[in-house]
Subunit: 165 residues, 10 copies
């Protein structure tokens, strides 16, 4: 088969490896990256993650969310199986919804140094109210800084219809 050669997959250890370990608490170290082969052209990659779950830091009860992560890669890209293992590490970890989204964004910035990234969590309701935090980032000193501001300024002007059913 054509496609990426071995060298181009340098640093990817989880994908196609059956023996990966699922961490029982917050584990940013499982994140892995690989090289962006199209750095001359800015483009978006989005991850749809409807199977996120964590714990409430106060009551210990489970929280559930769908997380949407979109980024414009710089030189590095996050490998999707390592992202899955990373998100799994929140499973028995407790934190506020707003804090989780900021932490995930910061860990991915640290891993990939992307040109742009945004993270949007959409949680299920507790007590009849649901919370959807959204944070984003544009690399300082690039024109993605302005992109980040504009996307924030125009964020979610058409909230989806929610009826808790």
């Amino acid at each position: 088969m054509t496609g990426r050669n071995e060298e181009e997959l340098n640093g990817v250890t989880h994908l196609g490896n059956q023996q990966v370990e699922y961490k029982m608490d917050y584990a940013p170290e499982v994140l892995e990256s690989f090289d962006n082969k199209h750095p001359e052209n800015d483009y978006f990659v989005k991850f749809n993650c409807p199977e996120f779950t964590s714990l409430c830091p106060i009551t210990g009860q489970p929280d559930f969310a769908t997380i949407y992560i979109s980024y414009v890669p710089g030189e590095k890209m996050v490998e999707s199986k390592s992202l899955k293992l990373y998100l799994f590490s929140f499973r028995n970890h407790g934190d506020f919804h707003e804090d989780c989204m900021n932490i995930i964004m910061k860990d991915l910035i640290k891993l990939m140094d992307p040109k742009y990234i945004e993270v949007w969590g959409k949680f299920t309701p507790r007590g009849g109210i649901s919370i959807d935090p959204y944070c984003n980032y544009g690399k300082p000193g690039t024109r993605f800084e302005e992109v980040a501001w504009n996307r924030l300024a125009n964020h979610d002007m058409y909230p989806e219809t929610i009826d808790n059913r």
Copy 2:
């Protein structure tokens, strides 16, 4: 569990407290806030509140709405259980739809001093017509003032399909 420590939850009294009291009339005093741990990065938090109900000030008949509240926190954030109790306090209170939305926005501004906030109510119909008020606010003297104007100027150019069923 990791996450916020006790100090970081200063001022949060309703969450995880089974003995909270449900107020029978408009009670802005139940609102509580906590510290924003990510003040260096502007981000959005949205509350979906499909279980809002109040009374018609003229006829006393019940009104129902889904309320969407979105804000960019400054130093303080509203605690969601206190928000629930606050919205509950409209249950036996009478006011016009348009007035309710403005009041809710003003109370949250007073509580949190946010950089930006918007409140959108979508009511069920009376006499075949439904009313959806939307108000917003950007902190004076910041660039969120312009954000507020732009979001108002571009508000809801794609009204959702309504057929009263």
Copy 3:
């Protein structure tokens, strides 16, 4: 205008009356009926009631449901505005979901003596789980008794998709 004459509206006092009073607790006495003009032909009437709310008997927190009431009238029919006032009377009343549905069905049987009736409540979730009670009744000694059994035996074999959003 043609249609029903005054005599045929005997006993209807709430409809077209602006001075009706909204009761603050469970008030089955507000229910009113009128004559069925087509008793020779069995037919169904369904009420869609998406604006039902009551209180949790343990915690006092509000519950919300959509209630579907379907019946085959005998000699009497329930007047819809009185039904609205009756359902309103649960607004500040506390009872379990399952109990509310049974009580509503029994009050309507007492009012109308219908050939058949069913009441289905679909509540919003608490703690990530929602409850949908369904009860029905066929007049004893008629073939609607068997109808009730068959409808129960075949009830809801295609549960609607629920994701709490």
Copy 4:
């Protein structure tokens, strides 16, 4: 063109006639029928009529419904443009929802003498509650009598989701 010849369109006067008159009150006399060319095989014809409107007999305010009419023709079939004119004649006529559905069914039975017919009205809400009457009929002395009973007995076991929006 092939298809029906002139004789087979006997009695059809409204279709393709620009000068038809719109009646301002209940006018069953505008209904027209034509011959069923496939009487040896029982089959269904359904009319979807989402543009029905009448007046409330008490308050004079307008009511709106979608009406679904399904029938198995005998020797005669209702011509669809005459059906449109007939339904229009309710526009400034006042009657209860339940009465309208029974009247429409009876007028069509008188016109066509069908083997089977059913009429289902789905109205928009007044005061937060909507009403959906359903009536049906099987020709006495045929096995469609039992069909009518069975369809009534199993009517609408999956009520559509209604949220008044």
Copy 5:
């Protein structure tokens, strides 16, 4: 109950009045307004009106539409029950779709002198084609004039899917 006092409801005569008369032809005089209590903050109010019907000026056949009216109030706001009576007055009135929308907008401008207003009608098809007129207005000499131009220039770039069913 708290909320608006009597003085603040000055000029509102239809709401809570059972004796209102339904006009049989175009009646702009039934429109009523009341004071905007939040004039210092620009905000939107939207009316969803899915029960609009008029007559074709050429053939007399009924037309049906859902009308969406959105405005930013100045000193006055339109009272919703009077709006309902006003829209009802088109019921037996004949005019082209495009003309109706412009007339409704002009009458509301005359009544309220709003900062901004837009009216969008979505009609059901005749001959397989449906027509959706949209008109808007920004108060001359204010920055809402530019808002009106921008909203027109960007109007409906994502037409809803229509299949006539």
Copy 6:
């Protein structure tokens, strides 16, 4: 490739033939069949045909429908490209909706001698009303005769929601 050999495709001339001719009027002779390889087991085949169009026999204006054809094959099966050409032949042909459905069913019975067949047309509205004819057939002397009766007797008890948009 494995699958059917040439002999098993006996009589199939249109499929994979670029030179097929599109007939300009009703042409039942284009229908082709092939052998059922699984005659020992009764099974269903459904064709979804959303691109059907014919002409009104009175006014010449075009009619549009989605047709659903379901059958249980006997020894023969209809080849799908020939079915497409057959349905195309109605394109400039005029007939009533109800007549078209009966004709299509009869032509397919004549071609294939199926155990069971049903044809359901769902047309777009004219004058605000749409028509959906449904006819079916079970081979006389087999238990599919009773199947046909039962499917007719229980036909379409949940009419789809139609709003002409």
Copy 7:
């Protein structure tokens, strides 16, 4: 009835005329216009046309599309029944999808000289792929020229989900 007088309907010959002829090939001459009564205010009119069909110029097989036409009228407006007859004239005409959309737009520009117009066709798939051409136009020398450019530059950034079913 009020509304447009005869003079204001000058040039409209198809509407309300039962004897109109359906052309069997491309017939731009059937298009008719009437006067815009609100030329002082720019506004949009959209036609939803889900019943468009033409032929493939290579194979002769039928193509189907929904066409959305939106325009800002100048002094003239296109009459909708003449538009229907015009679109019908493509029924037995062969052309590429992209060419059809450009031709329709050019014919309407020639007829009405609008300030702005856009035409969007959404075709059904052939060989698993469907094609959706979109073209637009702003009157040269007016600020609608820039509107046309901006609408093109921002066209369809949220393609609808397509799964060919």
Copy 8:
């Protein structure tokens, strides 16, 4: 408040108790029941549980499902907060999808001795395929035994559309 008295809530310890413990492995002992107050009338209660998660017994990776539980109570009913805690106990437990559903049903039968019960799990896909197990039970020696057989025999004849997005 009216409703259930203390005695009628006998045995309910989790509801309204903030100190409940979340078990880290399969814990059927947390299930609690209370008395059915309407035992003379058979009725259904359904729990919608979209927040179920367990682990794959082979690979340890997380599985997610929505579980629908419907039952006809006998003398006892399951308390919903204890059900939530019970389902939570699968969070870090590994078992096959089909086994989980059977285990949940058996535990609830043991707790409540219901007249009828069914449990339907709808899992998210792994490797492009998702699995939906369904099991049910009718109390032996009652006519619910036949109900269980009939519901199984007619289970899910209209599988929902699944496209893995």
Copy 9:
């Protein structure tokens, strides 16, 4: 972890094995089964398989379908990863839609000897028409034989809406 022990996973070789080989032509031999642990209770298992693709036996062009497989296990159950590999083996194999569904059903009967099984394929359109074959089977000499007949007799009376988009 609890759940199935090693012995209970006897014969399962693909699951959790990274070295599985993807076969390039029809390969029924990859199917694997494991023991049913709940044989005393009849229950359903459904596989949703939206990623099925094969080739047209005449033209070699690709076909796509969603396949729904439902069965009541006897002593054996099909392992889902082996099912995935089996369905993959059709990827470069050519056969008619109707033949594929029958072959899949027969291979699964041979593997598992189930009490009941059904296979429903829903293909994407070619030439504007799509084909949905459905076949089923009940074990001879058991009451599932009658179940199979009844499910076939009542198959798909509500065809999903198809518009090829």
Copy 10:
């Protein structure tokens, strides 16, 4: 038939040719173009391609996506049947999702030299996460360069709801 003449179809060899060959690996050479007849007016053409499949370069397992390709033609346009053959050539080819989208875009740029082009792939999930890459391009030295930047900067601010079912 009117429409394009032979010369205007110069270079189109696959369309209407039954003997086309399906390539078994990546084959950019099958792409064909034809002349744009409306080069004076910029317009968009979109291809909806829901039947894309490739192989994972690491594991060999199949991947599935819907691809949306939108472009503004220069002098050349891609012929749709050749596009289908080209996309087919990925069927047994292995590459990362992000790489596939970039390759497709580059091949189409090379073929057509378009003014603008964008390619958006939406894949089905693996391990609970799905990936949607989006890349675009504006011709250097034209104002479409800025269009490309703006469309990227505002890309997908409303991610579609994904729940993996």
